[in-house]
């Protein structure tokens, strides 16, 4: 089997959300010398990306998408520990600090974004739900994320996204981070209005937006 066959096999097994088959295909590929980075990016992340598209088209549903993300995350952890010291060390695409803003406890969408981004190769720090902006500023200082993602499901909590941007400016942190906003009532217009860097309407859209903001695509 050549490299492309291995990657296709991994992708197909992941798209079937078959944990065993995906793990077996990954091991087979490693055995044949396929670089771990390629397995992650061109096998697993590509499969997940495809599932994300099918999810947007209502061909694949949420529990299956999450299962595929979970399988990917597990494999990623396994590969990371295996290649930690190696020169083939897996490079993360970037660190993302995620939160649902203060006053808002809706976090299924935000967690989905976290899982898909993580499975796509981003390092995810999930601050949780109902997170005060003050806490977020402290976390930015502490973690130095490349991207901050703020989710808000209620129109009444959307202003917290704007407030965070103002607070980041005051703290002199604005230039150090890219800010992506999302959530049901949020739009690109709103993102532009409050001076956010990006907006995404779903999990796979967030990966695309993040890649673009970090100059990866």
């Amino acid at each position: 089997m050549n490299k492309q066959d291995h990657l296709s096999k991994i992708m197909a097994a992941l798209m079937d959300q078959d944990r065993e088959a995906t793990n077996a295909a990954v091991d087979e590929a490693l055995g044949d010398g396929v670089p771990p980075m390629d397995i992650l990016n061109e096998g697993l992340a590509a499969g997940l990306q495809e599932l994300g598209v099918l999810f947007a088209e209502e061909e694949v549903y949420l529990p299956e998408l999450l299962l595929a993300a979970e399988i990917t995350t597990e494999i990623m952890k396994r590969l990371q520990s295996k290649f930690q010291a190696d020169e083939t060390k897996i490079k993360k695409r970037g660190t993302v600090l995620l939160a649902t803003v203060e006053g808002d406890v809706h976090d299924i969408g935000k967690s989905l974004v976290g899982m898909i981004m993580n499975a796509s190769g981003y390092n995810i720090i999930d601050a949780g739900k109902d997170v005060p902006n003050k806490k977020m500023i402290e976390l930015v200082k502490e973690i130095h994320p490349d991207i901050v993602g703020l989710s808000s499901l209620l129109s009444t909590t959307m202003p917290a996204q704007q407030e965070f941007i103002e607070m980041a400016k005051e703290a002199g942190l604005r230039d150090q981070i890219k800010i992506i906003v999302g959530g049901a009532p949020v739009s690109r217009d709103w993102a532009n209005k409050i001076g956010a860097d990006g907006y995404a309407e779903d999990a796979s859209g967030t990966v695309v937006e993040a890649d673009m903001l970090l100059g990866r695509k």
Partner: protein
């Protein structure tokens, strides 16, 4: 699940008594000598001079005793029939309509044979309808053979059970001959009939020639009969709902007496389109609350007699595919279904019976899926009440990632295919994902993967010869 009822036991008894009295005191007008002979032999009073038949009470009881509580509707794809009876609900198409709302142009035009074929094939591809009542009347063929063209289109394009019509004794015989050719013999067709004959009675209390022909010819061979009566309250029936129920009920019972006099073995489905004459616009209404209530009423009457039930359902008066369509179709679909109407017949039809379309058929497929989910009820068992999953998730967690969710959500929820439940995309066109657009998109997708039944060349030739005779 508890069955929905609108009439009490006392109401049903009163309607039954009145219907029986109506048949004896007023009688039914019949001109066909053959039918009169059968009625007379069975024990009815026949006034040949005045063309009236009066069926006595005891004969109705004796006839009902010859009826089965279920009818087995076979098909040509699956050895198991659908069993019509009890409280099981099935959905079917209908369409005496001669107009089609074109899926490409959004304009009305006359139904052509190809439209009929398209709608039959779509019906065959979708899991609902469960059976196909001839869903359109082509206008591009001579009217003397239009019923035969319809039957041929059904035989050629669906392997589901279908209900067809015939306009006279000769065409009825020819339809049976065509179906027998496809079945591989009349004995095979009768043993496992995949074709039912549609009997539409005329209100009030008038038996057309073609109706007696159709009942007699079909009953002679033993094909199932879908006997329906549709008085219009205030027009061809009394303005009271109860009076219209009495009218429909008496007409159906009277027709069953003839069918069973011809052949006691003929399978019978008690069906009705009892409806309303809209006094403001002088049209026949199928989308209002009365229509849904009358269907619940006729279904209760069928069950009162222990007969399989059917009739108009999932219908609408609207002339466009709009909010009214959704409201009317859901109302006239859900209520009869909750009442346990065995054959809810109306998918695809709208514009008060005057138009069909591929889009409405897809929309009705979604509506009936919604209704089927309601009929499945809420399963309360040791398994569904198990607390293990709560313990796994704990307070404040989410269930979306649980294996328990993956195992159950598809069984427990109706997963809509054309209803839009996506997020509110503020930047995008709010009409981008309307049900109509999604229905239009689904049609070619469905048909791409579809493969219809295959009928051998020589059988097709034989059918054409029968039609051309």
């Amino acid at each position: 699940m508890e069955r929905f009822k609108i009439l009490s036991d006392a109401d049903l008894l009163r309607i039954d008594q009145a219907s029986r009295a109506l048949l004896m005191e007023v009688g039914v007008e019949i001109h066909d000598e053959r039918a009169m002979d059968y009625y007379e032999k069975a024990g009815a009073h026949v006034d040949r001079e005045n063309h009236r038949v009066y069926v006595p009470d005891y004969l109705i009881t004796a006839t009902l005793n010859k009826c089965s509580s279920s009818v087995r509707l076979y098909n040509r794809r699956d050895p198991e029939p659908i069993v019509i009876g009890g409280d099981d609900v099935y959905f079917g198409t209908v369409g005496i309509a001669t107009n089609v709302l074109d899926i490409n142009t959004d304009q009305y035009r006359a139904v052509l044979t190809q439209d009929l074929i398209d709608i039959i094939r779509l019906s065959d591809a979708l899991d609902r309808p469960h059976y196909i009542l001839v869903p359109g009347t082509p206008t591009d063929v001579p009217s003397t053979i239009v019923d035969l063209i319809e039957t041929k289109a059904l035989l050629m394009n669906t392997s589901k059970h279908f209900i067809t019509e015939a306009q006279n004794a000769e065409n009825c015989k020819r339809a049976i001959e065509m179906a027998a050719a496809v079945a591989g013999g009349l004995d095979k067709l009768i043993a496992k009939p995949f074709m039912t004959m549609l009997v539409t009675l005329t209100s009030p209390l008038h038996f057309r020639q073609d109706v007696s022909d159709l009942i007699i010819e079909s009953a002679l061979v033993g094909l199932p009969l879908f006997i329906e009566s549709g008085p219009m309250a205030g027009g061809t029936g009394p303005a009271t709902m109860a009076g219209t129920l009495i009218c429909a009920n008496a007409e159906i019972l009277n027709a069953i007496v003839l069918a069973k006099a011809v052949n006691p073995e003929v399978p019978i489905i008690y069906a009705s389109w009892a409806r309303l004459l809209d006094m403001r616009v002088a049209t026949c209404s199928h989308g209002g609350p009365e229509f849904a209530m009358l269907r619940v009423g006729t279904t209760q009457l069928a069950k009162y007699y222990g007969l399989p039930s059917g009739g108009g359902s999932v219908l609408g008066d609207t002339k466009s595919i709009d909010v009214q369509l959704g409201m009317e179709k859901m109302g006239t679909g859900l209520l009869p279904a909750l009442a346990g109407t065995n054959m809810c017949t109306g998918m695809g039809l709208f514009a008060d019976e005057n138009a069909i379309s591929l889009e409405t058929l897809v929309i009705d497929w979604e509506i009936t899926g919604w209704i089927e989910r309601v009929l499945r009820g809420i399963k309360v068992t040791k398994e569904t009440c198990d607390l293990a999953v709560f313990k796994e998730v704990g307070p404040g967690g989410d269930f979306v990632r649980c294996e328990h969710t993956r195992e159950n959500y598809r069984i427990e929820s109706f997963l809509p295919q054309i209803m839009d439940r996506g997020y509110l995309a503020l930047d995008k066109d709010p009409l981008a994902k309307t049900m109509r657009k999604r229905a239009k998109k689904l049609f070619p997708k469905l048909m791409q993967a579809y493969k219809g039944p295959e009928i051998p060349e020589e059988i097709v030739r034989k059918m054409d010869e029968i039609i051309a005779r």
